[in-house]
């Protein structure tokens, strides 16, 4: 179970449970609500109660029909209102009966939606409002403590730790982050209630340790924190906290991992101190025995390295250290694969550090906003390259470029890309704009309006990494997308996992139904290509054809394609 405050602050997709015995009603409502929320369904009150008990902290709202077999809406409302845990979940009643409206409000529903569902916009507004009101209430009552364990929330832990530092400036303190290993397995094996008891047991020990040693204990986002006077005996600390956390002797062992930032440098701020402890915690690999790891010089070096990269971005951009590589994409619908487009991928070739992997700098840039500069650079270089190829070969090779989550919030985005294309004499539809699937789930309304506007200017939109996030296939219907790019993970397993293959087939089928083109990336073998072709995939990208290459090397693909298409014609 997660603390309420963490639920309301994070930018996650919320779940709405729709309870109605009539399939049409469930589906129609799900279709409307599914554009913004993840949806769960139940056919009657009894089924709904089971789902609610198993997912109490995930569900943000219940849409409840009144007249149903087994257990009707009234009975369920009654149970919910008197349940200590479930009473916080707001319920909107669905009803065609005037009398039921007042009655359901009396029973504790926060609102009602009249049947039939005349105005989807109004329904969405009521759903949003009810969730917001309930969350605001929870936030107010959550105040400074984690609701489940009574430990401080992270924010309050920082405040107390800071205060402690001011009163005891010479005392060496350790920041510690603690996690339960494989808690999900414990929950799966013995149920969530068992897992919750383990969490409370551990919380009790952490609190006692903090009290006895003059420190502070906290919990946020499922992780525990200790701020304690420095100890050299970390084995003893781990032993004291982790000893026999299981509830019965025959149950599986429950182990901890702990990250310790010793003698924390408070000048960096409490948040940074606990970030370091958390980073150390993440490096603990063995999850079958309790163990710990220190924040050390290597991690410190990584921080410094990151800082160095961030500090050199402007110079790197000015000096052209970033190189745009192109990976070809082939259309496989016909008899022979036909070069159809390319994806632009950035590389950093640093004069002193050499080749820097995009994995090392892109997440870093995304974190602090520098990605905006880099993306623009890549758009410009790509357009320039398209123009060069057009002049040299008389053909336009469409290029996919990345649009980061942050770009979407830039007010001048559309003008920017439009003017880049215009400056090079490239038509807008030669630009394929890749937006990652997870960006769609952040703020669907905003992104949909941005994307609609880009599409109306002629740009084509690719949804990148589809299947890696939380979208459902049904969501596709409401998203303005031209191309669906299937996440590499599915392609990787396609030859070994029947399930992944079926999943890909389904995605392709649904995408086709919506008039979208499908692209599979990360294709490395002939076997994968054949299966994708069989599944009806349109376009393939991956090492099977080529790795990303510099523009001059890419030209061999254009020349080969021109040659082959000439031969095919003659």
């Amino acid at each position: 179970m997660e603390p309420i405050a963490s639920k309301v602050n994070v930018n996650h997709r919320r779940y709405v449970l729709i309870v109605d015995d009539e399939e049409i009603n469930r589906q129609m409502l799900g279709f409307i609500v599914g554009s913004e929320y993840d949806v769960m369904y139940a056919e009657n009150g009894r089924q709904a109660l089971e789902i609610l008990r198993a997912n109490s902290y995930r569900i943000s709202l219940v849409l409840l029909d009144i007249l149903m077999p087994e257990m009707d809406g009234r009975e369920l409302l009654d149970i919910l209102r008197s349940d200590s845990e479930l009473h916080r979940i707001p319920v909107i009643v669905l009803t065609a009966e005037k009398d039921a409206e007042i009655e359901s409000l009396r029973l504790g529903a926060v609102d009602f939606i009249p049947k039939p569902y005349d105005m989807p916009d109004v329904i969405m507004a009521r759903v949003r409002r009810s969730i917001k009101l309930a969350e605001d209430n929870s936030l107010l009552s959550a105040t400074e403590q984690d609701s489940m364990t009574g430990l401080y929330n992270k924010g309050f832990l920082y405040v107390y730790a800071d205060m402690h530092g001011r009163l005891n400036p010479d005392m060496d303190m350790d920041a510690v982050a603690i996690d339960i290993n494989r808690l999900h397995i414990v929950n799966d094996l013995y149920g969530r209630a068992y897992g919750d008891q383990v969490i409370r047991r551990l919380a009790g020990r952490i609190k006692r340790y903090a009290d006895e040693h003059g420190g502070y204990a906290g919990r946020s986002d499922g992780e525990f924190y200790l701020y304690i006077p420095h100890t050299d005996d970390c084995d003893a600390l781990l032993e004291e906290l982790g000893k026999d956390l299981r509830l019965n002797d025959d149950d599986i062992q429950i182990t901890l991992r702990m990250g310790i930032y010793q003698n924390a440098d408070r000048s960096t701020g409490m948040e940074a101190c606990f970030d370091r402890a958390e980073n150390a915690c993440k490096t603990v690999r063995n999850t079958y025995a309790s163990s710990y790891s220190f924040y050390d010089s290597k991690m410190h070096e990584k921080e410094l390295y990151d800082e160095q990269l961030l500090g050199e971005v402007d110079t790197a951009l000015a000096e052209g250290q970033f190189k745009v590589y192109f990976q070809p994409k082939y259309n496989i619908r016909g008899g022979r694969p036909v070069l159809s487009s390319a994806e632009a991928l950035v590389r950093w070739i640093h004069p002193a550090l050499g080749f820097i992997s995009p994995g090392a700098f892109i997440p870093l840039f995304e974190k602090n906003g520098l990605i905006l500069k880099l993306d623009k650079y890549v758009w410009k270089k790509s357009a320039e390259q398209m123009r060069i190829w057009k002049e040299k070969y008389g053909v336009v090779i469409p290029v996919s470029v990345n649009i980061s989550r942050m770009d979407i919030y830039e007010p001048g985005l559309e003008d920017e890309i439009r003017s880049i294309a215009a400056a090079e004499g490239i038509a807008n539809d030669a630009f394929l704009l890749e937006i990652t699937e997870s960006a769609y789930t952040d703020n669907s309304d905003h992104i949909i309006s941005v994307v609609n506007s880009l599409r109306s200017s002629g740009f084509r939109i690719e949804m990148d990494d589809f299947g890696s996030g939380y979208s459902s296939l049904s969501m596709l219907a409401s998203l303005p997308v031209d191309v669906l790019k299937i996440d590499m993970a599915f392609v990787r397993n396609i030859t070994t996992s029947e399930k992944d293959y079926r999943m890909i087939r389904l995605m392709i089928e649904v995408a086709g139904f919506m008039g979208m083109t499908t692209v599979a990336e990360g294709v490395e073998t002939k076997e994968q290509l054949d299966l994708l072709k069989q599944a009806g995939c349109d376009v393939i990208q991956g090492y099977y054809f080529s790795k990303p290459v510099p523009p001059d090397e890419f030209e061999q693909f254009i020349e080969k394609e021109m040659e082959e298409s000439k031969n095919a014609d003659s």
Binding site: E22, I24, Q27, M28, L67, P69, A96, P116, P120, A477
Partner: protein
């Protein structure tokens, strides 16, 4: 094949039904197909014959909801009357209404053939 034009001609208030499906025609038609595939009229007849008003009401009410949401007016009308009568436990002859519901439902089914 089921089309919105055929449904319109049949008497369904397609525009209203579509608006409830966020104007997604494919989704709307899929929903209508579900209604066609989920024929509750046989069970309703059994309930009416057995004078099991409670069961009859559950069935008529469910059909009313589905047809109402999709604005399948010709079926919705008789089913709605049956549902309202059974809710009030009116001991009346439902034959004419039931027959009308069957006729309209059959017509609807034909559209999907």
């Amino acid at each position: 094949m089921l089309t919105v034009d055929a449904l319109r001609e049949y008497g369904a208030d397609v525009d209203t039904g579509l608006a409830r499906c966020m104007n997604n025609e494919a989704f709307y038609l899929r929903m209508v197909e579900i209604v066609i595939g989920d024929d509750k009229l046989g069970a309703l007849k059994e309930a009416l014959d057995a004078r099991d008003f409670k069961r009859g009401f559950e069935l008529a009410h469910a059909m009313k909801g589905a047809c109402g949401n999709l604005s399948l007016t010709p079926v919705f009308r008789p089913v709605c009357e049956i549902s309202d009568g059974l809710r009030a436990e009116k001991d009346m002859d439902y034959t004419a209404l039931y027959d009308e519901a069957v006729t309209q439902f059959e017509k609807l089914k034909k559209l999907a053939e």
